[in-house]
Symmetry: C2
DNA sequence: TAGATTGTTAATCGATTAACAATC
DNA sequence: TAGATTGTTAATCGATTAACAATC
């Protein structure tokens, strides 16, 4: 019943697993024990065949005639996503955005913890967020040597983003999420992802401005939707 | 030389246009006048063929032998994205995240403006961000009647997100960007996009935990990368 | 001209989806 | 059993990419 040992999960499926994960989390909290692919599909706004195909890459966890046991499926997805691990994350930049991130769901959910926080602003250095003291960026290398982060998050002003990226890469961090509205240059082996309101707004703008034109409207944007660019090659 | 009048831009291309847009903006600011598909591809971390194909959907704007005129290409992309329009955006929720959004690049760049801001917190209502006064959510319907937003942004705590979504949809807004870590139910014709740190972190976690395993690593995540789910059908 | 680079073709690859046999 | 729903197949669709003729 487990999938073959050499299962290779398609990228498009990986992108949807966190979505199913969140849906299942909400369902489980609401007391749901069993869920069908139809229901999952409705909530994720995707095709039910796609849900079944996606889940089939992880194994055969459903029961014909009744559906999936929500809690069990959730555990399987967590395992697949590596959320049974403990990934320390370093956040650089604790302005409004950085503070929002540090206080976000991302770090209260399984798999992640705030490893370290950095800023250069004297009034912020030394203060604490969620029990973690903000350190000066000058201390970056020693802090990282103590507790090496798995993922670096850039939440600085755009002008500082490349410098911080260089620092992260220089310290051996190979996964970066960039919230600064700036295109970054990093070595090709570094996993780099962008999260960006402007880009989302622009994609919306495209669909808004093409919506009512003749019949010229393109297909609706697919669900694992773009927010930016980029990624690194796997090792 | 313009593309056929019935050009239909593929979804994957639409997702990359904002990326090219940003790169061109940075190049133009840095004084670059001409750029090749190779250079653009390098900065966007995609294949050069893909850049040329993407741009060819907009028309034939390059010059064989030398490349693209940066400023002109930028203008064409802006036009295609509808950034020559003026889209008022309403932001609901002005905690750290909402404030970060209101002050972000998204609203200082072409095409968008902060139309209205809403919160329920008495200490916030009446204060101003970038010249716009925060109003109480109770005033939502009258405010929206005065100046109907094209796009609604949800930046509230997760628990309030569905209620706000209902309010937005009820007032006729058909494009929503949700920053709250909650799955929303909205009618199928509503364009809904999610932006979410947790989801980004989870996708990173997957690639991190599969990186060194045997040769089992999946393909690197494609650049228009997933951050969530969903979208509405075009009208 | 010689070198460079576009725009486009066509082959390939990956993702989506309807359909249905398997089976609870 | 009858009804429901999975897991998987196979056809289809869309996206990627190498290659190269066109052409500046």
């Amino acid at each position: 019943m487990p999938a073959s040992p050499t299962r290779r999960i398609p990228e498009a499926t990986v992108a949807r697993l966190p979505v199913y994960q969140r849906i299942l989390l909400e369902l489980v909290r609401a007391g749901t024990t069993t869920v069908s692919s139809d229901r999952l599909a409705e909530m994720a706004r995707v095709n039910a065949s796609k849900v079944r195909k996606d889940l089939s890459f992880l194994g055969s966890f459903g029961t014909r005639g009744s559906g999936y046991e929500a809690e069990y499926l959730l555990a399987q997805i967590d395992r697949e996503l590596g959320l049974d691990g403990d990934w320390p994350v370093a956040i650089v930049g604790l302005g409004n955005l950085g503070r929002a991130l540090a206080n976000s769901h991302g770090f209260t959910s399984r798999g992640f913890r705030i490893g370290s926080l950095f800023d250069v602003e004297p009034s912020l250095v030394g203060t604490r967020i969620r029990g973690v003291t903000i350190r000066h960026l000058d201390e970056f290398h020693e802090a990282v040597a103590e507790d090496p982060p798995a993922i670096g998050v850039i939440a600085t002003p755009a002008a500082d983003a490349q410098g911080v990226a260089d620092l992260l890469v220089g310290s051996g961090i190979s996964s970066i999420i960039n919230f600064a509205p700036r295109v970054l240059a990093v070595p090709p082996e570094v996993l780099l992802r962008y999260v960006d309101l402007s880009i989302e707004l622009q994609v919306m703008s495209f669909y808004l401005s093409h919506r009512d034109q003749l019949g010229t409207v393109a297909a609706s944007p697919a669900l694992p939707h773009a927010v930016g660019l980029t990624s690194g090659e796997p090792a």
